[in-house]
Symmetry: C2
Subunit: 315 residues, 2 copies
Protein backbone atom coordinates (compact mmCIF):
# COMPACT_ATOMS: atom_id res chain seq x y z
CA UNK A 1 0.00 0.00 0.00
CA UNK A 2 3.01 2.25 0.33
CA UNK A 3 3.89 2.26 -3.34
CA UNK A 4 2.27 5.64 -3.92
CA UNK A 5 4.31 7.44 -1.28
CA UNK A 6 6.58 9.28 -3.75
CA UNK A 7 8.59 12.17 -2.34
CA UNK A 8 8.25 12.16 1.46
CA UNK A 9 6.98 15.30 3.18
CA UNK A 10 9.67 16.73 5.48
CA UNK A 11 8.25 17.90 8.82
CA UNK A 12 10.33 19.74 11.39
CA UNK A 13 7.74 20.91 13.90
CA UNK A 14 6.37 18.65 16.68
CA UNK A 15 2.79 19.92 16.49
CA UNK A 16 2.76 19.67 12.70
CA UNK A 17 4.05 16.11 12.94
CA UNK A 18 1.32 15.09 15.37
CA UNK A 19 -1.36 16.77 13.28
CA UNK A 20 -0.08 14.94 10.18
CA UNK A 21 -0.28 11.56 11.95
CA UNK A 22 -3.76 12.27 13.28
CA UNK A 23 -4.99 13.18 9.81
CA UNK A 24 -3.58 9.94 8.43
CA UNK A 25 -5.15 7.89 11.19
CA UNK A 26 -8.48 9.65 10.68
CA UNK A 27 -8.23 8.48 7.05
CA UNK A 28 -8.06 4.92 8.36
CA UNK A 29 -4.33 4.50 7.88
CA UNK A 30 -1.98 2.67 10.24
CA UNK A 31 0.86 5.03 11.16
CA UNK A 32 4.23 3.23 11.15
CA UNK A 33 7.33 4.89 12.62
CA UNK A 34 10.94 4.05 11.82
CA UNK A 35 13.16 5.99 14.27
CA UNK A 36 16.68 6.67 13.01
CA UNK A 37 19.63 8.96 13.69
CA UNK A 38 20.16 9.47 9.95
CA UNK A 39 23.18 8.70 7.72
CA UNK A 40 21.04 5.95 6.34
CA UNK A 41 22.34 2.69 4.90
CA UNK A 42 20.79 -0.51 3.61
CA UNK A 43 20.11 -1.60 7.17
CA UNK A 44 17.80 1.38 7.69
CA UNK A 45 16.17 0.81 4.33
CA UNK A 46 15.39 -2.74 5.38
CA UNK A 47 13.56 -1.25 8.39
CA UNK A 48 11.59 0.87 5.92
CA UNK A 49 10.76 -2.26 3.89
CA UNK A 50 9.60 -3.92 7.08
CA UNK A 51 7.43 -0.87 7.82
CA UNK A 52 6.03 -0.88 4.28
CA UNK A 53 4.99 -4.51 4.69
CA UNK A 54 2.50 -3.61 7.45
CA UNK A 55 -0.99 -4.80 6.47
CA UNK A 56 -3.70 -2.43 5.27
CA UNK A 57 -3.52 1.25 4.34
CA UNK A 58 -0.44 2.75 5.99
CA UNK A 59 1.45 5.99 6.48
CA UNK A 60 5.18 5.48 7.01
CA UNK A 61 7.15 8.07 9.00
CA UNK A 62 10.94 7.95 9.25
CA UNK A 63 12.36 10.14 11.99
CA UNK A 64 15.89 11.48 11.61
CA UNK A 65 17.22 12.91 14.84
CA UNK A 66 20.63 12.53 16.46
CA UNK A 67 19.61 12.27 20.11
CA UNK A 68 22.16 14.11 22.30
CA UNK A 69 20.96 12.51 25.53
CA UNK A 70 22.17 9.03 24.61
CA UNK A 71 25.76 10.18 24.12
CA UNK A 72 28.07 10.69 27.07
CA UNK A 73 30.27 13.80 26.87
CA UNK A 74 33.22 11.48 26.11
CA UNK A 75 31.41 9.90 23.16
CA UNK A 76 31.15 10.79 19.50
CA UNK A 77 28.14 13.13 19.28
CA UNK A 78 30.23 15.82 17.61
CA UNK A 79 31.52 13.47 14.90
CA UNK A 80 28.40 11.37 14.44
CA UNK A 81 28.03 11.25 10.65
CA UNK A 82 25.12 13.02 8.95
CA UNK A 83 23.90 13.57 5.38
CA UNK A 84 20.31 14.80 5.33
CA UNK A 85 20.20 15.42 1.57
CA UNK A 86 21.50 11.92 0.90
CA UNK A 87 19.08 10.45 3.44
CA UNK A 88 16.10 12.14 1.79
CA UNK A 89 17.19 10.87 -1.65
CA UNK A 90 17.50 7.33 -0.36
CA UNK A 91 14.13 7.47 1.37
CA UNK A 92 12.43 8.95 -1.70
CA UNK A 93 13.91 6.18 -3.84
CA UNK A 94 12.14 3.55 -1.74
CA UNK A 95 8.77 5.01 -2.70
CA UNK A 96 7.59 3.74 0.66
CA UNK A 97 8.03 6.74 2.97
CA UNK A 98 5.26 9.30 3.40
CA UNK A 99 6.89 11.68 5.87
CA UNK A 100 10.29 12.41 7.35
CA UNK A 101 10.31 13.92 10.83
CA UNK A 102 13.50 15.91 11.22
CA UNK A 103 13.15 18.20 14.26
CA UNK A 104 15.84 20.76 15.09
CA UNK A 105 15.83 19.88 18.81
CA UNK A 106 13.52 17.78 20.95
CA UNK A 107 14.57 18.96 24.40
CA UNK A 108 13.71 22.04 26.41
CA UNK A 109 16.98 23.78 27.25
CA UNK A 110 17.18 25.51 30.60
CA UNK A 111 18.33 29.02 31.36
CA UNK A 112 21.63 28.28 33.02
CA UNK A 113 23.85 25.34 32.24
CA UNK A 114 24.75 23.50 35.40
CA UNK A 115 27.55 21.07 35.97
CA UNK A 116 26.80 17.47 36.80
CA UNK A 117 26.80 16.53 40.44
CA UNK A 118 30.06 14.89 41.41
CA UNK A 119 30.48 11.38 40.10
CA UNK A 120 27.12 11.29 38.30
CA UNK A 121 27.09 10.00 34.75
CA UNK A 122 25.79 12.67 32.43
CA UNK A 123 24.95 12.91 28.78
CA UNK A 124 25.72 15.49 26.14
CA UNK A 125 22.27 16.91 26.80
CA UNK A 126 22.80 17.56 30.48
CA UNK A 127 26.11 19.23 29.81
CA UNK A 128 24.05 21.97 28.14
CA UNK A 129 20.82 21.88 30.12
CA UNK A 130 20.19 23.42 33.49
CA UNK A 131 17.71 25.60 35.31
CA UNK A 132 14.25 24.71 34.12
CA UNK A 133 15.48 22.51 31.26
CA UNK A 134 14.64 18.90 30.53
CA UNK A 135 14.67 16.73 33.66
CA UNK A 136 12.35 13.77 32.99
CA UNK A 137 13.98 10.43 32.29
CA UNK A 138 12.71 6.94 31.64
CA UNK A 139 14.72 4.06 32.98
CA UNK A 140 14.18 0.39 32.24
CA UNK A 141 16.01 -0.62 35.32
CA UNK A 142 17.04 -4.22 34.69
CA UNK A 143 17.43 -4.27 30.91
CA UNK A 144 19.43 -1.03 30.83
CA UNK A 145 22.16 -2.62 32.91
CA UNK A 146 24.79 -4.99 31.58
CA UNK A 147 26.01 -5.43 27.99
CA UNK A 148 26.22 -1.98 26.37
CA UNK A 149 24.81 -0.40 29.54
CA UNK A 150 27.93 -1.28 31.52
CA UNK A 151 30.26 0.96 29.56
CA UNK A 152 27.57 3.45 28.50
CA UNK A 153 25.68 4.34 31.69
CA UNK A 154 23.40 7.02 30.20
CA UNK A 155 22.86 5.42 26.80
CA UNK A 156 19.65 3.50 27.41
CA UNK A 157 18.19 6.23 29.59
CA UNK A 158 18.60 8.55 26.62
CA UNK A 159 17.23 6.02 24.16
CA UNK A 160 14.14 5.17 26.22
CA UNK A 161 13.39 8.85 26.82
CA UNK A 162 13.75 10.00 23.22
CA UNK A 163 11.75 7.05 21.92
CA UNK A 164 8.93 7.89 24.35
CA UNK A 165 9.04 11.48 23.11
CA UNK A 166 8.91 10.34 19.49
CA UNK A 167 6.02 8.02 20.33
CA UNK A 168 4.12 10.92 21.91
CA UNK A 169 4.82 13.24 19.00
CA UNK A 170 4.29 10.88 16.07
CA UNK A 171 1.64 8.73 17.82
CA UNK A 172 2.39 5.69 15.67
CA UNK A 173 0.41 2.43 15.76
CA UNK A 174 3.52 0.44 14.84
CA UNK A 175 7.25 1.15 15.27
CA UNK A 176 10.15 -0.74 13.72
CA UNK A 177 13.51 -1.28 15.44
CA UNK A 178 16.53 -3.21 14.22
CA UNK A 179 17.64 -6.32 16.06
CA UNK A 180 21.23 -5.31 15.42
CA UNK A 181 20.74 -3.13 18.48
CA UNK A 182 19.43 -6.12 20.33
CA UNK A 183 19.46 -4.73 23.87
CA UNK A 184 17.78 -1.54 22.64
CA UNK A 185 15.06 -3.51 20.87
CA UNK A 186 14.30 -5.61 23.96
CA UNK A 187 14.36 -2.53 26.18
CA UNK A 188 11.89 -0.65 23.97
CA UNK A 189 9.57 -3.67 23.98
CA UNK A 190 9.71 -3.68 27.78
CA UNK A 191 9.08 0.05 28.04
CA UNK A 192 6.07 -0.23 25.75
CA UNK A 193 4.67 -3.05 27.88
CA UNK A 194 5.35 -1.35 31.22
CA UNK A 195 4.08 2.11 30.27
CA UNK A 196 1.12 0.82 28.22
CA UNK A 197 1.99 2.52 24.97
CA UNK A 198 -0.59 1.47 22.34
CA UNK A 199 2.16 0.63 19.89
CA UNK A 200 3.18 -2.64 18.28
CA UNK A 201 6.96 -3.02 18.15
CA UNK A 202 8.45 -4.90 15.22
CA UNK A 203 12.00 -6.22 15.47
CA UNK A 204 13.72 -6.25 12.10
CA UNK A 205 16.51 -8.70 11.28
CA UNK A 206 20.16 -7.67 10.98
CA UNK A 207 21.32 -6.65 7.51
CA UNK A 208 24.93 -7.41 6.63
CA UNK A 209 27.32 -6.11 4.03
CA UNK A 210 28.49 -8.54 1.33
CA UNK A 211 31.51 -9.33 3.49
CA UNK A 212 29.32 -10.15 6.52
CA UNK A 213 29.79 -7.02 8.63
CA UNK A 214 26.51 -5.87 10.18
CA UNK A 215 25.52 -2.53 8.69
CA UNK A 216 25.99 0.49 10.93
CA UNK A 217 26.34 4.22 10.37
CA UNK A 218 29.57 4.15 12.35
CA UNK A 219 31.17 1.63 9.96
CA UNK A 220 32.08 4.60 7.77
CA UNK A 221 34.71 5.50 10.35
CA UNK A 222 36.47 2.14 10.04
CA UNK A 223 39.68 2.10 8.00
CA UNK A 224 40.00 -0.70 5.46
CA UNK A 225 42.30 -2.52 7.83
CA UNK A 226 40.02 -2.04 10.85
CA UNK A 227 37.10 -3.23 8.82
CA UNK A 228 38.95 -6.43 7.93
CA UNK A 229 39.57 -6.97 11.61
CA UNK A 230 35.98 -6.20 12.58
CA UNK A 231 34.86 -9.10 10.42
CA UNK A 232 36.26 -11.30 13.18
CA UNK A 233 33.06 -10.59 15.13
CA UNK A 234 31.00 -12.26 12.52
CA UNK A 235 33.49 -15.11 12.14
CA UNK A 236 33.62 -15.74 15.86
CA UNK A 237 29.84 -15.80 16.07
CA UNK A 238 29.57 -18.23 13.18
CA UNK A 239 32.02 -20.52 14.95
CA UNK A 240 30.11 -20.24 18.21
CA UNK A 241 26.89 -21.03 16.43
CA UNK A 242 28.39 -24.11 14.89
CA UNK A 243 29.82 -25.22 18.21
CA UNK A 244 26.49 -24.76 19.98
CA UNK A 245 24.48 -26.45 17.26
CA UNK A 246 26.84 -29.42 17.27
CA UNK A 247 26.55 -29.59 21.04
CA UNK A 248 30.29 -30.11 21.02
CA UNK A 249 30.39 -27.91 24.11
CA UNK A 250 27.42 -25.98 25.42
CA UNK A 251 29.07 -24.26 28.37
CA UNK A 252 28.78 -20.48 27.89
CA UNK A 253 32.16 -19.89 29.47
CA UNK A 254 33.87 -22.08 26.87
CA UNK A 255 32.17 -20.45 23.89
CA UNK A 256 32.76 -16.95 25.25
CA UNK A 257 36.46 -17.70 25.64
CA UNK A 258 36.68 -18.83 22.03
CA UNK A 259 35.00 -15.63 20.84
CA UNK A 260 37.26 -13.41 22.94
CA UNK A 261 40.27 -15.24 21.58
CA UNK A 262 39.17 -14.81 17.95
CA UNK A 263 38.49 -11.10 18.46
CA UNK A 264 41.70 -10.44 20.33
CA UNK A 265 43.81 -12.26 17.76
CA UNK A 266 42.21 -10.09 15.09
CA UNK A 267 43.37 -6.99 16.95
CA UNK A 268 40.05 -6.07 18.56
CA UNK A 269 39.71 -4.79 22.10
CA UNK A 270 36.77 -6.65 23.60
CA UNK A 271 34.18 -4.57 25.46
CA UNK A 272 32.04 -7.59 26.34
CA UNK A 273 30.97 -11.00 25.17
CA UNK A 274 27.81 -12.33 26.78
CA UNK A 275 25.45 -15.19 26.11
CA UNK A 276 22.02 -14.23 27.39
CA UNK A 277 18.39 -15.27 27.55
CA UNK A 278 16.56 -13.62 24.69
CA UNK A 279 13.98 -11.60 26.62
CA UNK A 280 15.50 -10.89 30.00
CA UNK A 281 19.09 -10.58 28.74
CA UNK A 282 20.18 -12.50 31.82
CA UNK A 283 23.45 -14.40 31.18
CA UNK A 284 23.11 -18.18 30.91
CA UNK A 285 25.70 -20.70 32.04
CA UNK A 286 24.70 -23.45 29.62
CA UNK A 287 23.25 -23.06 26.15
CA UNK A 288 20.18 -25.23 26.49
CA UNK A 289 17.52 -22.87 25.16
CA UNK A 290 17.29 -20.06 22.57
CA UNK A 291 19.91 -17.51 23.52
CA UNK A 292 21.54 -14.48 22.01
CA UNK A 293 25.26 -13.95 21.88
CA UNK A 294 26.09 -10.28 22.33
CA UNK A 295 29.48 -8.98 21.34
CA UNK A 296 30.99 -5.52 21.36
CA UNK A 297 34.59 -4.72 20.59
CA UNK A 298 36.68 -1.73 19.64
CA UNK A 299 38.55 -1.74 16.35
CA UNK A 300 40.67 1.38 16.31
CA UNK A 301 38.59 4.04 18.04
CA UNK A 302 35.32 2.62 16.83
CA UNK A 303 33.14 0.45 19.01
CA UNK A 304 32.23 -2.17 16.45
CA UNK A 305 28.60 -3.03 16.24
CA UNK A 306 26.89 -5.16 18.81
CA UNK A 307 25.79 -8.34 17.09
CA UNK A 308 23.10 -10.65 18.33
CA UNK A 309 22.76 -14.23 17.24
CA UNK A 310 20.59 -17.13 18.28
CA UNK A 311 22.46 -20.41 17.95
CA UNK A 312 19.63 -22.66 19.05
CA UNK A 313 16.76 -21.06 17.23
CA UNK A 314 16.98 -23.41 14.30
CA UNK A 315 18.79 -26.12 16.24
CA UNK B 1 -22.08 19.59 27.61
CA UNK B 2 -21.65 16.96 30.29
CA UNK B 3 -25.18 17.22 31.67
CA UNK B 4 -26.35 14.13 29.81
CA UNK B 5 -23.74 11.84 31.30
CA UNK B 6 -26.10 10.04 33.70
CA UNK B 7 -24.81 6.78 35.14
CA UNK B 8 -21.12 6.40 34.29
CA UNK B 9 -19.98 3.28 32.47
CA UNK B 10 -17.54 1.28 34.62
CA UNK B 11 -14.59 -0.06 32.64
CA UNK B 12 -12.03 -2.42 34.13
CA UNK B 13 -10.02 -3.52 31.10
CA UNK B 14 -7.17 -1.43 29.62
CA UNK B 15 -7.97 -2.21 25.98
CA UNK B 16 -11.68 -1.54 26.50
CA UNK B 17 -10.84 1.78 28.13
CA UNK B 18 -8.65 2.87 25.22
CA UNK B 19 -11.27 1.77 22.68
CA UNK B 20 -13.91 3.76 24.59
CA UNK B 21 -11.77 6.91 24.50
CA UNK B 22 -11.00 6.51 20.81
CA UNK B 23 -14.70 6.14 19.99
CA UNK B 24 -15.46 9.32 21.93
CA UNK B 25 -12.70 11.22 20.22
CA UNK B 26 -13.85 9.97 16.82
CA UNK B 27 -17.24 11.51 17.71
CA UNK B 28 -15.48 14.83 18.08
CA UNK B 29 -15.42 14.85 21.86
CA UNK B 30 -12.57 16.09 24.04
CA UNK B 31 -11.61 13.31 26.45
CA UNK B 32 -10.97 14.66 29.96
CA UNK B 33 -9.34 12.48 32.61
CA UNK B 34 -9.56 12.94 36.38
CA UNK B 35 -7.14 10.47 38.00
CA UNK B 36 -8.00 9.50 41.60
CA UNK B 37 -7.24 6.80 44.13
CA UNK B 38 -10.93 6.64 45.11
CA UNK B 39 -12.66 7.25 48.48
CA UNK B 40 -13.94 10.39 46.86
CA UNK B 41 -14.78 13.61 48.69
CA UNK B 42 -15.86 17.10 47.71
CA UNK B 43 -12.30 17.86 46.66
CA UNK B 44 -12.45 15.16 43.99
CA UNK B 45 -15.89 16.28 42.92
CA UNK B 46 -14.51 19.77 42.39
CA UNK B 47 -11.97 18.20 40.01
CA UNK B 48 -14.90 16.64 38.19
CA UNK B 49 -16.61 20.04 37.99
CA UNK B 50 -13.41 21.47 36.58
CA UNK B 51 -13.33 18.67 34.01
CA UNK B 52 -16.99 19.23 33.13
CA UNK B 53 -16.26 22.90 32.45
CA UNK B 54 -13.99 22.02 29.51
CA UNK B 55 -15.23 23.74 26.37
CA UNK B 56 -17.03 21.87 23.58
CA UNK B 57 -18.39 18.33 23.50
CA UNK B 58 -16.56 16.28 26.12
CA UNK B 59 -16.25 12.81 27.57
CA UNK B 60 -15.20 12.78 31.24
CA UNK B 61 -13.33 9.76 32.60
CA UNK B 62 -12.59 9.36 36.31
CA UNK B 63 -9.99 6.73 37.10
CA UNK B 64 -10.09 5.01 40.48
CA UNK B 65 -6.92 3.09 41.19
CA UNK B 66 -4.84 2.86 44.34
CA UNK B 67 -1.35 2.83 42.88
CA UNK B 68 0.90 0.48 44.87
CA UNK B 69 4.12 1.85 43.42
CA UNK B 70 3.80 5.24 45.12
CA UNK B 71 3.62 3.71 48.60
CA UNK B 72 6.75 2.60 50.41
CA UNK B 73 6.46 -0.72 52.25
CA UNK B 74 6.35 1.27 55.51
CA UNK B 75 3.43 3.37 54.31
CA UNK B 76 -0.32 2.91 54.47
CA UNK B 77 -1.20 1.02 51.28
CA UNK B 78 -2.95 -1.72 53.28
CA UNK B 79 -5.14 0.73 55.17
CA UNK B 80 -5.73 3.24 52.40
CA UNK B 81 -9.49 3.82 52.56
CA UNK B 82 -11.74 2.63 49.75
CA UNK B 83 -15.46 2.63 48.97
CA UNK B 84 -16.13 1.87 45.33
CA UNK B 85 -19.92 1.70 45.66
CA UNK B 86 -19.98 5.06 47.42
CA UNK B 87 -17.60 6.52 44.85
CA UNK B 88 -19.81 5.41 41.95
CA UNK B 89 -22.90 6.89 43.65
CA UNK B 90 -21.14 10.21 44.17
CA UNK B 91 -19.87 10.31 40.59
CA UNK B 92 -23.30 9.40 39.19
CA UNK B 93 -24.87 12.19 41.24
CA UNK B 94 -22.70 14.77 39.50
CA UNK B 95 -24.26 13.87 36.16
CA UNK B 96 -20.92 14.88 34.67
CA UNK B 97 -18.98 11.61 34.45
CA UNK B 98 -19.23 9.39 31.39
CA UNK B 99 -16.89 6.58 32.39
CA UNK B 100 -15.08 5.27 35.45
CA UNK B 101 -11.85 3.39 34.81
CA UNK B 102 -11.30 0.97 37.69
CA UNK B 103 -8.65 -1.56 36.67
CA UNK B 104 -7.81 -4.52 38.93
CA UNK B 105 -4.05 -4.04 38.51
CA UNK B 106 -1.97 -1.93 36.16
CA UNK B 107 1.43 -3.57 36.59
CA UNK B 108 2.92 -6.72 35.13
CA UNK B 109 3.94 -8.94 38.03
CA UNK B 110 7.05 -11.03 37.55
CA UNK B 111 7.52 -14.72 38.17
CA UNK B 112 9.71 -14.60 41.24
CA UNK B 113 9.60 -11.88 43.85
CA UNK B 114 13.07 -10.53 44.47
CA UNK B 115 14.28 -8.53 47.40
CA UNK B 116 15.41 -4.97 46.90
CA UNK B 117 19.10 -4.47 46.46
CA UNK B 118 20.65 -3.38 49.73
CA UNK B 119 19.86 0.20 50.71
CA UNK B 120 17.63 0.88 47.70
CA UNK B 121 14.32 2.56 48.34
CA UNK B 122 11.51 0.33 47.15
CA UNK B 123 7.78 0.61 46.86
CA UNK B 124 4.96 -1.75 47.70
CA UNK B 125 5.01 -2.78 44.06
CA UNK B 126 8.62 -3.87 44.00
CA UNK B 127 8.15 -5.85 47.16
CA UNK B 128 5.93 -8.12 45.05
CA UNK B 129 7.48 -7.83 41.61
CA UNK B 130 10.53 -9.65 40.37
CA UNK B 131 11.77 -11.69 37.44
CA UNK B 132 10.24 -10.26 34.30
CA UNK B 133 7.85 -7.94 36.15
CA UNK B 134 7.47 -4.20 35.81
CA UNK B 135 10.81 -2.39 35.63
CA UNK B 136 10.24 0.88 33.77
CA UNK B 137 10.17 4.04 35.83
CA UNK B 138 9.81 7.71 35.04
CA UNK B 139 11.74 10.16 37.15
CA UNK B 140 11.38 13.92 37.13
CA UNK B 141 14.77 14.35 38.61
CA UNK B 142 14.74 17.85 40.10
CA UNK B 143 11.07 18.26 41.02
CA UNK B 144 10.84 14.83 42.65
CA UNK B 145 13.42 15.83 45.22
CA UNK B 146 12.73 17.99 48.25
CA UNK B 147 9.41 18.63 49.99
CA UNK B 148 7.42 15.38 50.06
CA UNK B 149 10.17 13.68 48.05
CA UNK B 150 12.61 13.93 50.95
CA UNK B 151 10.71 11.63 53.27
CA UNK B 152 9.02 9.63 50.51
CA UNK B 153 11.81 8.63 48.10
CA UNK B 154 9.71 6.45 45.76
CA UNK B 155 6.49 8.47 45.88
CA UNK B 156 6.93 10.68 42.85
CA UNK B 157 8.55 7.95 40.81
CA UNK B 158 5.39 5.92 41.38
CA UNK B 159 3.11 8.87 40.64
CA UNK B 160 4.86 9.86 37.40
CA UNK B 161 4.91 6.26 36.19
CA UNK B 162 1.26 5.47 36.91
CA UNK B 163 0.10 8.78 35.45
CA UNK B 164 2.04 8.05 32.24
CA UNK B 165 0.39 4.62 32.13
CA UNK B 166 -3.06 6.16 32.63
CA UNK B 167 -2.30 8.71 29.92
CA UNK B 168 -1.34 5.92 27.51
CA UNK B 169 -4.41 3.84 28.35
CA UNK B 170 -7.07 6.57 28.49
CA UNK B 171 -5.40 8.83 25.89
CA UNK B 172 -7.05 11.98 27.24
CA UNK B 173 -6.82 15.43 25.65
CA UNK B 174 -7.06 17.10 29.05
CA UNK B 175 -6.27 15.88 32.57
CA UNK B 176 -7.20 17.56 35.86
CA UNK B 177 -5.03 17.48 38.98
CA UNK B 178 -5.63 19.14 42.35
CA UNK B 179 -3.28 21.87 43.52
CA UNK B 180 -3.56 20.48 47.03
CA UNK B 181 -0.90 18.06 45.88
CA UNK B 182 1.14 20.97 44.67
CA UNK B 183 4.44 19.22 44.04
CA UNK B 184 2.63 16.42 42.22
CA UNK B 185 0.80 18.89 40.00
CA UNK B 186 4.00 20.72 39.05
CA UNK B 187 5.81 17.44 38.47
CA UNK B 188 3.10 16.14 36.14
CA UNK B 189 3.19 19.40 34.18
CA UNK B 190 6.94 18.99 33.79
CA UNK B 191 6.66 15.36 32.74
CA UNK B 192 4.06 16.26 30.11
CA UNK B 193 6.34 18.98 28.76
CA UNK B 194 9.50 16.85 28.78
CA UNK B 195 7.97 13.70 27.28
CA UNK B 196 5.75 15.57 24.79
CA UNK B 197 2.44 14.14 25.91
CA UNK B 198 -0.33 15.78 23.85
CA UNK B 199 -2.31 16.53 26.99
CA UNK B 200 -3.34 19.81 28.58
CA UNK B 201 -2.97 19.72 32.36
CA UNK B 202 -5.44 21.72 34.43
CA UNK B 203 -4.57 22.55 38.04
CA UNK B 204 -7.67 22.72 40.20
CA UNK B 205 -7.82 24.88 43.34
CA UNK B 206 -7.80 23.43 46.86
CA UNK B 207 -11.20 22.65 48.36
CA UNK B 208 -11.51 23.04 52.11
CA UNK B 209 -13.94 21.72 54.69
CA UNK B 210 -16.14 24.25 56.49
CA UNK B 211 -13.54 24.42 59.26
CA UNK B 212 -10.77 25.17 56.77
CA UNK B 213 -8.98 21.80 56.59
CA UNK B 214 -8.00 20.94 53.03
CA UNK B 215 -10.02 17.92 51.87
CA UNK B 216 -8.12 14.64 51.69
CA UNK B 217 -9.10 10.97 51.70
CA UNK B 218 -6.74 10.40 54.60
CA UNK B 219 -8.58 12.94 56.80
CA UNK B 220 -11.00 10.14 57.67
CA UNK B 221 -8.23 8.61 59.79
CA UNK B 222 -7.88 11.74 61.96
CA UNK B 223 -9.49 11.60 65.39
CA UNK B 224 -11.60 14.59 66.36
CA UNK B 225 -8.74 15.84 68.50
CA UNK B 226 -6.12 15.34 65.79
CA UNK B 227 -8.36 17.09 63.34
CA UNK B 228 -8.61 20.11 65.63
CA UNK B 229 -4.84 20.17 65.80
CA UNK B 230 -4.44 19.74 62.04
CA UNK B 231 -6.32 22.99 61.55
CA UNK B 232 -3.17 24.69 62.78
CA UNK B 233 -1.73 24.17 59.27
CA UNK B 234 -4.35 26.36 57.79
CA UNK B 235 -4.07 28.92 60.63
CA UNK B 236 -0.31 29.12 60.30
CA UNK B 237 -0.57 29.62 56.54
CA UNK B 238 -3.15 32.36 56.96
CA UNK B 239 -0.82 34.14 59.39
CA UNK B 240 2.11 33.75 57.02
CA UNK B 241 0.05 35.12 54.18
CA UNK B 242 -0.93 38.15 56.22
CA UNK B 243 2.67 38.72 57.29
CA UNK B 244 3.94 38.48 53.71
CA UNK B 245 1.21 40.70 52.29
CA UNK B 246 1.88 43.34 54.96
CA UNK B 247 5.58 43.14 54.15
CA UNK B 248 6.11 43.16 57.90
CA UNK B 249 8.88 40.64 57.33
CA UNK B 250 9.58 38.98 54.01
CA UNK B 251 12.47 36.75 55.04
CA UNK B 252 11.48 33.13 54.40
CA UNK B 253 13.40 31.94 57.45
CA UNK B 254 11.32 34.15 59.73
CA UNK B 255 7.98 33.09 58.29
CA UNK B 256 8.95 29.42 58.27
CA UNK B 257 9.88 29.64 61.95
CA UNK B 258 6.49 31.10 62.81
CA UNK B 259 4.73 28.29 60.95
CA UNK B 260 6.80 25.60 62.63
CA UNK B 261 6.06 27.17 66.00
CA UNK B 262 2.30 27.25 65.37
CA UNK B 263 2.27 23.63 64.21
CA UNK B 264 4.43 22.38 67.06
CA UNK B 265 2.39 24.19 69.68
CA UNK B 266 -0.70 22.53 68.22
CA UNK B 267 0.91 19.11 68.77
CA UNK B 268 1.94 18.46 65.20
CA UNK B 269 5.23 16.87 64.21
CA UNK B 270 6.56 18.92 61.33
CA UNK B 271 7.82 17.00 58.28
CA UNK B 272 8.79 20.15 56.40
CA UNK B 273 7.93 23.79 55.88
CA UNK B 274 9.28 25.33 52.68
CA UNK B 275 8.69 28.53 50.77
CA UNK B 276 9.39 27.88 47.12
CA UNK B 277 9.24 29.35 43.64
CA UNK B 278 6.01 28.26 42.05
CA UNK B 279 7.33 26.38 39.03
CA UNK B 280 10.76 25.15 39.98
CA UNK B 281 9.90 24.50 43.66
CA UNK B 282 13.32 25.92 44.51
CA UNK B 283 13.33 27.45 48.04
CA UNK B 284 13.48 31.26 48.14
CA UNK B 285 15.22 33.29 50.81
CA UNK B 286 13.05 36.39 50.46
CA UNK B 287 9.42 36.55 49.47
CA UNK B 288 9.64 39.07 46.64
CA UNK B 289 7.72 37.20 43.92
CA UNK B 290 4.81 34.75 43.75
CA UNK B 291 5.73 31.80 45.94
CA UNK B 292 4.06 28.76 47.42
CA UNK B 293 4.33 27.78 51.04
CA UNK B 294 4.43 24.03 51.39
CA UNK B 295 3.72 22.40 54.71
CA UNK B 296 3.48 18.78 55.81
CA UNK B 297 3.11 17.61 59.37
CA UNK B 298 2.05 14.51 61.22
CA UNK B 299 -0.93 14.63 63.53
CA UNK B 300 -1.11 11.29 65.27
CA UNK B 301 -0.01 8.75 62.69
CA UNK B 302 -1.42 10.71 59.80
CA UNK B 303 0.69 12.89 57.59
CA UNK B 304 -1.58 15.88 57.32
CA UNK B 305 -2.14 17.19 53.87
CA UNK B 306 0.45 19.24 52.06
CA UNK B 307 -1.01 22.67 51.55
CA UNK B 308 0.16 25.17 49.00
CA UNK B 309 -0.51 28.86 49.23
CA UNK B 310 0.59 31.89 47.26
CA UNK B 311 0.90 34.92 49.50
CA UNK B 312 1.91 37.37 46.82
CA UNK B 313 -0.44 36.30 44.06
CA UNK B 314 -3.04 38.90 44.94
CA UNK B 315 -0.58 41.19 46.71
Amino acid sequence: MAAAAGEPEVIRDKAAMRAWSRRRRAEGRTVVLVPTMGFLHEGHLSLVSEAAATAGPIAVVVSIYVNPSQFAPTEDLATYPSDLAGDLRKLASTGAVHAVFNPPDLYVRGGTAVGASAGAAVSCLEAAVGGDGHETWIRVERLEKGLCGSSRPVFFRGVATVVAKLFNIVEPDVAVFGKKDYQQWRLICRMVRDLDFAIEIIGSEIVREADGLAMSSRNVHLSREEREKALSINRSLANARTAALNHSNSASEHIKKQIVQTLTEAGGQVDYVEIVEQESLVPVETIDRPVTICVAAFFGKILAVLVGDSPLEDG
